[in-house]
């Protein structure tokens, strides 16, 4: 264990897995000379050559389409999206090809590939470079979606994704790339896909979150602790299909639920979590299910507006206080 950044943790996962498995390669824009916008691919071209670390044209459609085709031909492509905001460009490839190929061809093939998609707010990147769109994919059977909240999980679940035989979207929050944390040096350190983690145990209320909002969730838990509330915090890590069992067990214990994410609240993943609980465990609930998320607007540019858009620790704290 040693402290490294989230970005370095993903780099380590790539390096270790590319060494293990020659069928892994990575492609995207500005990887070779820049090492990725967030340094997340730095050094890979030198280590693995430009046959396996590939700069593409600015063609997200062809990047994802080619990754799919390469996976059908036995490779394990990693496709970098530059910004998650550009996934609209290749949405057809993602939902009509990648997600469906195994199923609609009756299991004749697998589509082992990973899409890396940096998402979230970053200082005034504005409407087309700040989005978190994970909830769309929750409605698309055939894809798995993960979103780690810290360097250790970033490494562990990226390694799991690189070893998986299913197509996986790996959302990595842009602002998290510089986060530091202890990360295992074990080359088989895996964070399993499909399992949520109870990162803080509590008795009075469950906060479900993931990715960068885990920071606000934990901060809120600290504040609420001082108020005398015992807060359980769950990090989903896998967003689709998410770990319903862990959430339900927690709510059965705490009787209260708040879900927080940076993505727009309306139509966000929180709705699905709330709905599952309202279906499976409503009798255990002693308060309304509260969701905290981005406001229902595109992300505005000006710092004052961006700050108004951003979901905040105080909203989580107020939300929980209102339950008692």
């Amino acid at each position: 264990m040693r402290e490294i950044t989230f970005s370095e943790a993903t780099l380590e996962a790539m390096r270790e897995e590319m060494k293990r498995d020659p069928s892994i390669f990575v492609m995207g824009e500005d990887i070779v000379r820049q090492g990725g916008i967030f340094g997340q691919f730095k050094g890979l071209p030198d280590e693995f050559g430009t046959d396996r670390v590939i700069d593409t044209p600015i063609t997200e459609t062809a990047i994802i389409g080619a990754a799919i085709g390469a996976s059908l031909a036995g490779m394990r492509p990693v496709a970098d999206m530059h910004f998650a905001d550009f996934m609209g460009v290749c949405m057809d490839e993602i939902f009509n090809q990648m997600a469906k190929i195994r199923y609609m061809f009756g299991g004749q093939t697998t589509v082992p590939m990973v899409i890396r998609a940096p998402d979230g707010l970053i200082r005034s990147a504005a409407a087309q470079h700040s989005q978190s769109i994970e909830s769309w994919f929750n409605n698309i059977p055939g894809i798995k979606v993960v979103a780690p909240s810290n360097p250790a999980d970033a490494k562990g679940i990226l390694k799991a994704a690189l070893r998986s035989n299913d197509p996986i979207i790996y959302f990595e929050n842009k602002d998290l790339f510089r986060m530091k944390g202890d990360v295992s040096e074990d080359e088989d350190y895996i964070v399993p896909i499909g399992k949520a983690k109870v990162v803080r145990e509590g008795k009075d209320v469950t906060i479900v979150s993931y990715s960068i909002m885990m920071q606000q969730a934990l901060e809120a838990a600290d504040i609420l602790e001082k108020d005398g509330y015992s807060v359980e915090v769950i990090d989903l890590i896998t967003l689709s299909p998410f770990d319903e069992e862990t959430v339900i067990q927690s709510v059965k214990k705490t009787h209260r639920l708040l879900i927080a994410h940076e993505a727009v609240k309306r139509g966000g993943l929180g709705g699905e979590v709330a709905a599952v609980v309202a279906e499976m465990a409503i009798d255990y609930l002693d308060a309304p299910i509260i969701r905290v998320g981005g406001k229902f607007t595109p992300v505005p540019f000006s710092p004052t507006l961006e700050e108004a858009y951003r979901p905040k620790t105080s909203e989580i704290v107020e939300g929980v206080r209102g339950m008692f």
Binding site: P57, T61, I64, G65, A66, I68, G69, L72
Partner: protein, 319 residues
């Protein structure tokens, strides 16, 4: 050698024609569910191209994919079963006509998305390049598909990286109800090769020999690592866009005339007979063999059960 090849041409073309005629019949009766697009009149293209390929090579197909699938070497019984939605079909009944595929022979799938195959075929070629094999990848697509953005992105990528992929346009003059020149900005789609610095060639798509030769050259070029080629096969869509299409947008006379003048199977027969390459009897034997095979496929499909309801949930994820 040559004779074997010619017999193979005939067998494949005739098998496609026979298969399609039976499909048309069952589809009209409502026995085959879903949308069905027939390849009748375009058989020489899939046949001529795929004769240059091994099972280690890949093809990507379209919504009009039965011919490509047969030409690549798939079995008509499992195809027929798939089109009927049966458990014994290639996709266990989950795919149907628009998603017919046989991965075991390198047929990576029909595609319900027009222009969906360009980038996938490019990716398969990229994989082979990384793996340093000399396998190639071929993508079939329509005149209509040639206007999609995926065409441009894939050709550019394949050209820059010199990938072993061949782009085969089946210009049948129609995209659904739309004459191609009303939506396509060039008369010869092969002209678009200029924009990628790759060879582009016009081929008589109803002449199986011409198709075989031109695609053979392009495939050879790809195998040698010299990059992609754009081939435009000129042909004509003989049937409606889908089975059941009322075809209000063109006259029966126009279609009949085009077919009479330019049926690729008739042209083949005339040629091999007049050149004395195959005899009437040899051809008759092939016809009988093929018709028998398709008849058996129909039986197989009709006798096969529908998939069990639990099958709904399988094949979604591996892990």
């Amino acid at each position: 050698m040559k004779k074997d090849l010619y017999m193979q041409f005939y067998r494949t073309m005739y098998k496609i024609r026979t298969f399609e005629r039976r499909i048309e019949e069952f589809s009209m009766k409502g026995d085959i569910p879903g949308f069905v697009h027939l390849y009748i009149g375009e058989e020489a293209i899939a046949t001529g191209v795929c004769a240059n390929l091994t099972h280690q090579d890949y093809i990507q197909s379209t919504h009009r994919g039965h011919g490509h699938t047969i030409a690549k070497g798939a079995k008509v019984n499992r195809m027929m079963a798939e089109l009927f939605g049966k458990k014994t079909g290639y996709c266990k009944g989950k795919g149907g006509s628009m998603h017919i595929a046989d991965f075991s022979v390198g047929m990576l799938g029909a595609n319900g998305i027009v222009g969906g195959g360009f980038t996938l075929a490019t990716g398969a070629a990229l994989a082979e390049k990384i793996k340093k094999t000399n396998n190639v990848s071929v993508v079939f697509f329509g005149d209509g598909a040639s206007n999609r953005g995926t065409f441009h992105e894939a050709l550019n990528m394949a050209a820059v990286w010199k990938l072993p992929v061949v782009f085969v346009c089946e210009n049948n003059e129609w995209a659904s109800t739309t004459p191609y020149l009303t939506t396509t900005s060039v008369k010869d789609i092969s002209d678009r090769a200029v924009g990628y610095g790759i060879p582009g060639e016009i081929v008589d798509g109803n002449d199986v020999f011409a198709v075989y030769e031109a695609s053979g050259k392009a495939i050879e070029r790809a195998r040698k690592g010299e990059g992609p080629t754009l081939l435009e096969m000129k042909t004509y869509r003989i049937k409606g866009h889908y089975v059941g299409d009322p075809q209000l947008y063109r006259t029966k006379e126009e279609v009949d005339q085009r077919f009479e003048e330019n049926d690729p199977i008739r042209r083949f027969e005339d040629h091999v007979l007049s050149e004395g390459i195959l005899s009437e009897n040899e051809m008759k034997a092939i016809v009988e063999e093929v018709v028998g095979e398709v008849d058996k496929a129909v039986e197989f499909a009709l006798e096969s059960p529908f998939p069990d309801v639990e099958e709904l949930y399988s094949d979604l994820y591996v892990d």
